[in-house]
C-alpha cells in the first residue's frame, strides 16, 4: 500500500520535477557558470573567473542602479506598509456602502504595471500634465518636474505605486478580519480607547501579516521593472539614468548589450541580496512577530 502510494506520489509530482530540472536546476547551474564567463552567444563561452564580479566595482551604471533601487526601497517600503495599513483600517469600517468603496480602491491592484504607468506618464508630464496643472492652479508656481527630474524620478515611481496601494490593503484587511472579536470586547471592558485598541490588539495581531508584506515588498523593490521601463520610456528618453533600476540594468546588459555573462553575475548578486534580506528578516522576526495558536487553522 505504502509503496503504491509512493509511486503514485511521484507520478503526481512528475510535471513539477521535470520543470524543476529543465527550467530551474539547469538554468541555475548555467547561470552560475555563465557568471564566471564571457559570452555573446556567438562562439564558445570563455572562462574569465571572477572578472564579471570584479567589473561591477568599476561599472558606474551598476552603482547607479544600486543607488536608484535602494532609494526606491527606502522610500517605498515604509510608505507602502504604513499607507496600506491605514487604508485597510479605513476599509475595515463597518459602515454602509463600504463594499463599494473596497471594490473601487482595490481596482488599481488588478491593472497592469504597464497600463498604470502609461496613464501616469501622461498625468505626470511636467509641462502639460494634469497633476502639475492642478498644482499650479493651487498656487504652486514651480511644481516638481517629476519624471524629467533626477531628484523626483524615483519619488514619481513611488507615487504611482501609491495609487495602487489597495493591493497591499487587501492583505491587511484579511489580517484584520481574522482578529477575534472577543479580543476587542475584552479590551473595551478594560476601558481601552481607540488608540489603545489599535496599539495593543490590532497591531500585535497583524504582525504576521506585516512580516509577509515586509518580505514581499522588499523583494518587489529589487524587482521593479514594468513601471520603470514605461516611465523611462524604455530607457531612451529625457531623464538619463535616474530610473536605472537594478532589473532594468540587468535587462539592458543581457538583451540590449548581449553581455550574458555579466548579466548572469548581476542576477547572482540580486539573488544573494534577496537571500540576505530574507535571512535577516526571518532571524529578527521572532522579536516582533506574534503568532497566536488558533485551533481553527488545524481543522
Amino acid at each position: 500500500m505504502a509503496r503504491k502510494e509512493q509511486r503514485a506520489a511521484y507520478l503526481f509530482l512528475s510535471p513539477w520535477l521535470i520543470g524543476l530540472v529543465a527550467f530551474w536546476l539547469i538554468p541555475i547551474i548555467g547561470s552560475l557558470l555563465l557568471s564566471f564567463s564571457e559570452w555573446n552567444i556567438i562562439g564558445d563561452p570563455e572562462w574569465v573567473g571572477l572578472d564579471n564580479y570584479r567589473d561591477m566595482i568599476d561599472d558606474r551604471t551598476f552603482w547607479v542602479s544600486i543607488r536608484v533601487t535602494l532609494k526606491y526601497l527606502l522610500l517605498s517600503v515604509p510608505l507602502y506598509i504604513g499607507a496600506g495599513l491605514l487604508l485597510s483600517l479605513v476599509l475595515n469600517l463597518k459602515i454602509r456602502g463600504i463594499n463599494v468603496f473596497r471594490t473601487i480602491l482595490f481596482l488599481p491592484a488588478v491593472l497592469s504595471g504597464v497600463a498604470v504607468a502609461v496613464l501616469w506618464v501622461a498625468l505626470l508630464n511636467p509641462d502639460v500634465g494634469a497633476l502639475n496643472e492642478l498644482l499650479r492652479s493651487l498656487g504652486i508656481d514651480d511644481p516638481p518636474r517629476w519624471l524629467d527630474s533626477p531628484t523626483w524620478a524615483v519619488p514619481s515611481v513611488v507615487l504611482v505605486g501609491m495609487w495602487g496601494i489597495g493591493g497591499g490593503a487587501i492583505i491587511y484587511l484579511a489580517g484584520l478580519q481574522n482578529i477575534s472579536a472577543q479580543l476587542y470586547e475584552a479590551a473595551l471592558l478594560d476601558g481601552a480607547g481607540p488608540w489603545q485598541r489599535f496599539r495593543y490588539v490590532t497591531l500585535p495581531m497583524i504582525t504576521p501579516t506585516l512580516l509577509f508584506v515586509l518580505l514581499t515588498s522588499l523583494i518587489e523593490a529589487f524587482q521593479v521593472f514594468d513601471i520603470a521601463y514605461v516611465l523611462s520610456r524604455g530607457g531612451t528618453q529625457g531623464i538619463g539614468d535616474s530610473l536605472q533600476f537594478y532589473l532594468i540594468n540587468l535587462w539592458n546588459e543581457a538583451f540590449v548589450n548581449g553581455e550574458y555573462g555579466y548579466a548572469s553575475a548581476l542576477a547572482w548578486v540580486l539573488v544573494l541580496a534577496a537571500a540576505a534580506v530574507i535571512l535577516v528578516i526571518f532571524r529578527t522576526s521572532g522579536r516582533w512577530v506574534y503568532y497566536e495558536y488558533d485551533p481553527e487553522r488545524e481543522r
Binding site: 510535471p15 527550467f23 492642478l134 484579511a174 481607540p194 550574458y260 534577496a274
Partner: protein, 303 residues
C-alpha cells in the same frame, strides 16, 4: 468571512455609554461618520479621477488637445467613440494583441490548473519518501527571484528554437508554479482525511480520490490560481519583451509599452488602447472579487 463582520472596528466609538452623555455621543458618532465618508470619497476620487481623465482623453478627436491648461477630468465636449475602433483594428492592432494575450493566458491557466493541482495533491495529501526535502525545495524556488533565471532560461529557449513563439511563455506553466502549488497544498490539507479513508474502503485508487473527491472540493483555491494566472499573464511585460520579436505576435502589455516608448505618442489613441486593454482584467476582478479577496486572505496567514 460572514462571522467576521461582527468585529468591532478600531476607532469606532465604544458601545456602552453613560446615559447623560447620550446626546453628545450621538453627535460624535455622526461627526465620526461624516469624517470617514469624506476620507473614503476623497480616496475614491484619487482612484477614479485619473481613470476618468483617461476616458476624456480617449474620446478626443485627433485635433483636440489632450492636455489642457485646466485638466479635463470628465468628458464633456468630445465623444469620439470611433477612437476605440481605431485602436482595436484600424490604426493600431489591439484586437490582435488581445487575442494573442488571450491565447497565452488560456494556455497558461490550463497548464497551471493541471500541473499545480496534481503536484499540490501529492504534497498535501500523499505520504512519500523525500516529501519534506522536496517541499523545502519548493519553498526555495518560490523565494528566489525568478528574474535571476531569465538569462539562462532565455538561452535555453533559444537553443530549443522557441524564441519568437509563445512556447517560453506557456510551457513552464505546465510544470507548475511554486506559489500556486503551495497554495493548493495548503488548501488540500484542510480537507478531512476521513474522506480518503472512506474512499479507499470503497475501493477508489489514488487517482480516483484526486479526481472525484479532492479536486471538486478544491474549486475555490483553483479559481484563485486561475485568476492570478490570468492577471499575471495578461499584465506581464518582461516575458513578451524578451521572447517576442514579431509585431503580429505582441501582447497587450508589450503593445502598450511600445506606444509610450516612441517619441510621437498619439495620446488620445494611447488612452483608448489603455482603457480597452484593462477591460478584461476589470471584468474578471468584478466577477471574482469576493473569492479573490478570500483567497488572498488564506495566502500568508495559514501556515
Amino acid at each position: 468571512m460572514k462571522t467576521l463582520e461582527k468585529t468591532p472596528t478600531t476607532g469606532a466609538p465604544p458601545r456602552e455609554i453613560p446615559q447623560r452623555s447620550a446626546a453628545r455621543y450621538r453627535v460624535r458618532r455622526i461627526a465620526y461618520k461624516v469624517v470617514m465618508y469624506a476620507i473614503l470619497l476623497g480616496l475614491t476620487a484619487i482612484i477614479l479621477l485619473p481613470v476618468s481623465w483617461a476616458l476624456t482623453a480617449a474620446l478626443k478627436p485627433d485635433l483636440a488637445p489632450v492636455f489642457t491648461p485646466t485638466p479635463e477630468w470628465f468628458p464633456t465636449e468630445y465623444w469620439e467613440w470611433g477612437n476605440f475602433r481605431l485602436v482595436l483594428t484600424e490604426v493600431m492592432p489591439f484586437l490582435r494583441y488581445m487575442i494573442n494575450t488571450m491565447i497565452i493566458v488560456t494556455a497558461s491557466i490550463l497548464g497551471v490548473l493541471i500541473s499545480c493541482s496534481l503536484v499540490g495533491f501529492a504534497f498535501g495529501r500523499l505520504r512519500f519518501r523525500g516529501s519534506k526535502v522536496l517541499f523545502y525545495v519548493l519553498i526555495v524556488t518560490m523565494l528566489i527571484p525568478w528574474q535571476a533565471l531569465i538569462v539562462p532560461q532565455f538561452l535555453l529557449f533559444v537553443e530549443l528554437g522557441w524564441y519568437g513563439t509563445y512556447l517560453p511563455l506557456i510551457v513552464p506553466s505546465f510544470t507548475g508554479v511554486a506559489f500556486f502549488i503551495f497554495l493548493i497544498r495548503q488548501y488540500m490539507r484542510t480537507i478531512p482525511r476521513d474522506l480518503d479513508d472512506a474512499a479507499r474502503v470503497d475501493g477508489l485508487n489514488t487517482w480516483q480520490i484526486f479526481w472525484r473527491i479532492i479536486l471538486p472540493l478544491s474549486t475555490p483555491v483553483l479559481t484563485v490560481c486561475a485568476v492570478f494566472t490570468f492577471l499575471w499573464r495578461w499584465n506581464d511585460l518582461l516575458g513578451p519583451l524578451i521572447y517576442l520579436d514579431d509585431g503580429s505576435k505582441f501582447t497587450v502589455a508589450l503593445g502598450l509599452a511600445n506606444l509610450v516608448t516612441r517619441a510621437d505618442t498619439p495620446w488620445n489613441l494611447t488612452m483608448a488602447a489603455n482603457l480597452v486593454t484593462v477591460i478584461p482584467t476589470v471584468l474578471v476582478y468584478f466577477f471574482v472579487q469576493k473569492k479573490l479577496i478570500g483567497g488572498i486572505a488564506s495566502v500568508g496567514l495559514k501556515g
